[in-house]
């Protein structure tokens, strides 16, 4: 049974509070057999405690399946990219390297790639994936498009991403601010890698003269 068309997955990283509930719930899902497939990443640990849940985005042109030499990664008709097929997977790790979102993982004990499959046993019968059922701030939301528009009037869903020269469209939606300057709605993933933190000069109040004054003017 396929996942119903009217139900969609929405990720709203703004709302993530880093409680790890999704990580725990994920391991409860029968399709993962006790292993958590969700990544709860810190955006920039040095500066912020902001976390972001990373689930499989279920790309329309899955890069992991494109690079798989063993033809092990398959996409069901409802657009869900499934975990690698056990008899085929050779645990080469190509998918781990290729995935723009960093989703697949190699289980070295089983020599098998495992990834988020939207809790296929649950979502294929119309239930919510485990992470979306437990998320207290609903950063992970599974429902209809009408529901999300009613609940989050300031955000809008987008499913187009830019990764280098590759434009990716996905089944899973990312919530971005409605007032976003990015038009058409598109999230550039690699752009963040180019960003440098702004240089800042600072002065210590205990000193009368600023010893870094010369240095900061030279470098900035």
């Amino acid at each position: 049974m396929p996942v119903p068309d009217h139900l969609e997955f929405f990720i709203d990283p703004n709302r993530c509070i880093g409680c790890q509930a999704c990580v725990q719930a994920c391991s409860e899902c029968d399709t993962h057999k006790g292993e958590s497939m969700i990544h709860l990443e810190y955006v920039n640990r040095n500066e912020s405690v902001q976390t972001v849940p990373v689930v499989c985005m279920h790309c329309d042109q899955p890069t992991c399946a494109e690079v798989c030499p063993a033809d092990a990664i398959k996409r069901t008709e409802d657009g869900v990219v499934q975990s690698a097929r056990k008899p085929r997977c050779i645990a080469c790790g190509n998918c781990v390297m290729a995935c723009p979102f960093g989703v697949p993982e190699i289980n070295m004990e089983q020599l098998l790639m495992k990834k988020c499959d939207m809790c296929y046993d649950r979502s294929s019968v119309g239930k919510k994936p485990m992470c979306a059922t437990v998320c207290p701030s609903q950063a992970l939301f599974f429902g209809t498009r009408e529901e999300i528009e009613r609940l989050r009037p300031l955000s809008m869903p987008t499913n187009r991403f830019q990764f280098g020269n590759q434009t990716i469209t996905t089944k899973v939606n990312m919530m971005v601010p409605r007032t976003s300057v990015v038009t058409p709605p598109l999230v550039d993933i690699t752009a963040a890698m180019e960003q440098r933190t702004p240089q800042r000069s600072f002065s210590l109040n205990v000193m009368v003269e600023d010893p870094f004054a010369e240095v900061s003017t030279e470098t900035v």
């Binding site: 042109q61 399946a65 494109e66 996409r75 008709e77 499934q82």
Partner: protein, 181 residues
């Protein structure tokens, strides 16, 4: 390349399937496409498999004819009775250089010889005088010492028996008896 069935997943370059390389049809990303077997492919598989089985039958027949034509191997001197005390064994090559056989003297009058290759996976069998059998250490196969028949373990066929001729004190190998049961 014409695909038998429309693909759901679009190739990364966005071009239609007609312009895609042939391997995209052979290794589709979509599950329905991957599970789909065209009638022509199925028929091709059945015909080729049947053909392979038929050729195999002819090959087995040809091998039988060839084996019969090659006739009995020549008489070969192995050892003298005095060289093999009762309960001891020696190895020898028969009928060809690398076909190792084992000769065991069971009693004063009885001497038996078999091919040393286990009929399971060609490991060398060793005599086990205490249990009156030939033992294959690879997978615990056991053969009866007096007849070469299987007592237990994975082998299904008995060991090929070497026909022996004893002239006075001399032991000669006079042929190979390949048995199926």
């Amino acid at each position: 390349m014409k695909c038998d069935r429309e693909q759901l997943t679009i190739a990364p370059d966005g071009k239609p399937m007609d312009q895609q390389p042939a391997w995209r049809c052979d290794f589709p990303v979509d599950v329905p496409q991957d599970n789909y077997v065209a009638r022509r492919d199925f028929t091709k598989f059945m015909v080729l498999t049947s053909l392979a089985f038929t050729v195999g039958q002819f090959w087995i027949g040809a091998q039988n004819i060839w084996r019969k034509r090659s006739g009995k191997p020549a008489l070969k001197h192995i050892a003298t009775l005095s060289e093999v005390p009762v309960g001891k064994a020696i190895t020898f090559d028969y009928p060809h250089e690398h076909d190792t056989c084992i000769l065991v003297r069971i009693s004063e009058t009885d001497v038996v010889a078999y091919s040393q290759k286990c009929t399971h996976l060609q490991c060398a069998v060793t005599p086990d005088a205490e249990n009156n059998c030939l033992h294959c250490p690879c997978h615990n196969g056991n053969f009866e010492l007096s007849t070469g028949r299987v007592l237990g373990g994975p082998p299904r066929r008995p060991l090929p028996k070497v026909t022996l001729t004893i002239k006075g004190d001399e032991i000669y190998a006079a042929g190979m008896e390949v048995r199926t049961v």
